[in-house]
Symmetry: C2
Subunit: 118 residues, 2 copies
Amino acid sequence: MKDLLRPDLTFRLTGRLWVESEQDRFMGIGRLELLRHIQQHGSISKAAQAMDMSYKRAWDLVSSLNAQSASPLVLTQTGGKRGGGTVVTPEGEELIAEFEALQARFQAFLAAEAARVL
Amino acid sequence: MKDLLRPDLTFRLTGRLWVESEQDRFMGIGRLELLRHIQQHGSISKAAQAMDMSYKRAWDLVSSLNAQSASPLVLTQTGGKRGGGTVVTPEGEELIAEFEALQARFQAFLAAEAARVL
DNA sequence: ATTCGTTATATTTTCATGAATATAACGACA
DNA sequence: TGTCGTTATATTCATGAAAATATAACGAAT
């Protein structure tokens, strides 16, 4: 493909991957980052503002994740000493780890293909 | 990941990849299909209607493709016996072939990863 | 010169997605 | 009991991308 591209521009090969069920997306890079931020901050609202995402969107994503998993990936608590909070369960941690690994293999694939094709 | 997913739903791993320059996308699955339709029909407008895409969008994509390639990928002719038309150049055919091959390897990657992770 | 089907191009309209905004519920603690 | 920061939820608003619409240019053929 190299010989077809304008030599004064720089090109890159990029992509995205995700897991989806019939009706809804389940896991992707955005949800991965959200889960990591929730781990860090212990709260959906804090995670959302750290990512510059609206609270509602973050909450919707969490709701979608939990709705499609066999057991909860995050546990939310409402009210209480600090108003509540959210923790990532061991199952959620497993999902994070597995999707991170998948993502890493994908990036390796992209790099290898870029070297071959660009 | 398998053990984390609701067993009453079916999940699939999917993804997309594309080549882009700084300012603009260059090649992706949508543009591949457009190029194939142009090959088949010899016209941007026929290709667009076969794909149920607006002519403007198809024309914009063709314009973007040619603007980023070293030599034209498609040649357009305006006016004339049948009003004009569009042909895919040998360079365009090369792009089609290479991107199809890349796409096939990507699908193989996805299938292998799905088998591992889902 | 007129017709015809296409390319070329600008402008307006639709639509979907996420952002913003608003409000209620919650429950520990002072 | 009142406060506080959060979760939970509904509704409105903004924005960007694609569709729809409109019009001109083109050039071979009649």
